[in-house]
């Protein structure tokens, strides 16, 4: 079989239509997961009574199981709960009316939250303890010290890892096809099987993923440079 180079371009353009969906599946969980991550990291660091155990279990379980399982469990489990609640409270709605993408958002956000909580936790731990003491010494409350002194620095330290998280989510978004959402990977499969040009379609999809990854790396690099102005100088 011969590789049809020109079809790669055709496939590329067609698959590109799925880009908004892929980006949505990447960005929405990134943002929600970030919020979950900060919350979980703080709960675990301050060992908030009782719930820090729940948080610990959440992180351990989600990081200890593959993303595809999270998708299945959310996709199959939530409708069961939803339908039962709906019947009980008489919402008059059926789980089949929930858009597919909601399940993906939930599964991916939970997954991303678990990983990001660890990224943020390590970032917080990397902030110089002396600065926290200094914050306390000038009379700041724990909350003020956390939001004004610790978190801004912790997030900056975490930036490269958060970028990795983005890339992981971007590539993980291809699993959304498993519940038949047509994101880039799904679209590529359709284009491939309708035209009988498999390698070409998947190469086109790969190029799109790679391009997105390059852009993400570039943006992170720029961001880091901009935000790190304070680290310039070099005198200890």
């Amino acid at each position: 079989m011969q590789l049809d180079i020109s079809f790669i371009m055709t496939a590329f353009l067609e698959i590109l239509q799925a880009l908004p969906l892929t980006l949505a599946i990447t960005f929405v969980p990134l943002v929600i997961g970030f919020g979950i991550g900060i919350g979980i990291a703080l709960i675990r660091l301050y060992e908030v009574r009782y719930i820090h155990r729940v948080a610990g279990f959440y992180v351990s379980f989600l990081r200890g199981t593959p993303l595809i399982l999270h998708i299945y469990i959310v996709y199959l489990g939530i409708p069961m709960i939803f339908d039962r609640l709906s019947a009980h409270f008489g919402w008059g709605m059926n789980s089949s009316s929930i858009p597919l993408i909601i399940f993906i958002f939930i599964a991916f956000s939970l997954n991303a939250g678990a990983y990001m909580s660890e990224i943020i936790r390590s970032g917080i731990l990397a902030v110089n303890k002396g600065e926290i003491e200094a914050a306390y010494s000038i009379g700041m409350t724990t909350r003020q010290a956390m939001w004004r002194i610790v978190l801004p620095q912790a997030l900056l330290i975490s930036l490269p890892n958060l970028c990795n998280m983005f890339i992981g989510l971007l590539h993980g978004s291809s699993l959304a096809f498993s519940i038949s959402l047509l994101e880039i990977n799904g679209k590529a499969s359709i284009v491939a099987s309708t035209n009988w040009k498999f390698v070409e379609s998947y190469i086109a999809a790969a190029i799109i993923y790679w391009g997105l990854t390059l852009i993400a790396e570039q943006i992170t690099g720029l961001l880091e440079k901009r935000l790190r102005t304070f680290a310039k100088g070099g005198v200890a």
């Binding site: 200094a134 010494s137 000038i138 009379g139 310039k232 070099g234």
Partner: protein
């Protein structure tokens, strides 16, 4: 007035402070001296609860705190009456020099930014760093960073400034500039408690010296008395080395 009554601190079975009593009047400059591990720094850190004392009573102005039952509110109240200058400066690395000094005023004392800025610039002028206001800590030398640390403490206008070995991590060449700044503030009547290894400095700026060992105050008194005529055997031994050094240098 600042009063420490029977301050005790233990780490597990190890007792670091065995009932310390100190009274500091307004405008006093107290120097705490003693060998390493004598509990000087721990005592200083107990005053603003960076270490929680197990027992004792701390009074600063109208705030009186029973250490054993200190609430979050008590701790905050004590911290808002004091300021600290650290051995390792501990400036906020992601903030400029000016922001470092303003932070306590705007965030803790809720002062309008414009007023805080004015005060902060005044303090930076006092430590001779007005021209570095927009620099980041990483762009400064150790001595300059420590002077910013002093400006940050001064800006809060606290009842007392706690100095925790302010020159111990500095290049010998940079010690002078920091000591000069501290001396200038001392002459303005700012109340200070200074933990230091700089004997000559302690003698020159303080009006009261506390000598500690093994979590106890061994001897205290006026600098000239402690340095020239110590009463306790241990104190004599400790200061002998220092006075000898002086005679050598002539």
């Amino acid at each position: 007035m600042i009063q420490l009554r029977n301050i005790r601190k233990t780490y597990g079975k190890h007792s670091v402070l065995n009932g310390i009593n100190i009274t500091v009047e307004k405008g006093d400059v107290i120097a705490i001296l003693g060998p390493s591990g004598s509990g000087k720094t721990t005592l200083l850190r107990c005053i603003n609860f960076l270490e929680h004392p197990n027992e004792g009573e701390i009074t600063i102005g109208e705030v009186a705190v029973d250490c054993k039952h200190a609430s979050k509110k008590d701790v905050l109240a004590l911290r808002r009456k004091t300021a600290m200058v650290f051995q390792h400066y501990n400036l906020f690395k992601h903030k400029t020099v000016l922001q470092n000094v303003m932070e306590g005023l705007t965030v803790v004392q809720k002062m309008p930014a414009e007023e805080a800025r004015e005060i902060s610039l005044l303090m930076l002028a006092k430590v001779g760093l007005t021209h570095k206001a927009d620099s980041y800590p990483s762009q400064l030398s150790g001595g300059q960073q420590q002077r910013v640390g002093i400006a940050r403490a001064l800006a809060l206008n606290p009842e007392v400034i706690l100095f925790d070995e302010p020159t111990s991590s500095l290049d010998p060449e940079l010690v002078g500039e920091v000591l000069t700044v501290i001396q200038n503030i001392a002459q303005e009547g700012v109340t200070m408690i200074v933990v230091t290894h700089e004997m000559g400095f302690a003698r020159d700026i303080s009006n009261h010296i506390v000598f500690m060992e093994e979590g106890r105050i061994i001897e205290e008194g006026k600098p000239q008395d402690i340095f020239n005529a110590p009463k306790e055997e241990r104190t004599k031994q400790f200061f002998k080395r220092f006075t000898n050094e002086w005679s050598y240098s002539i």
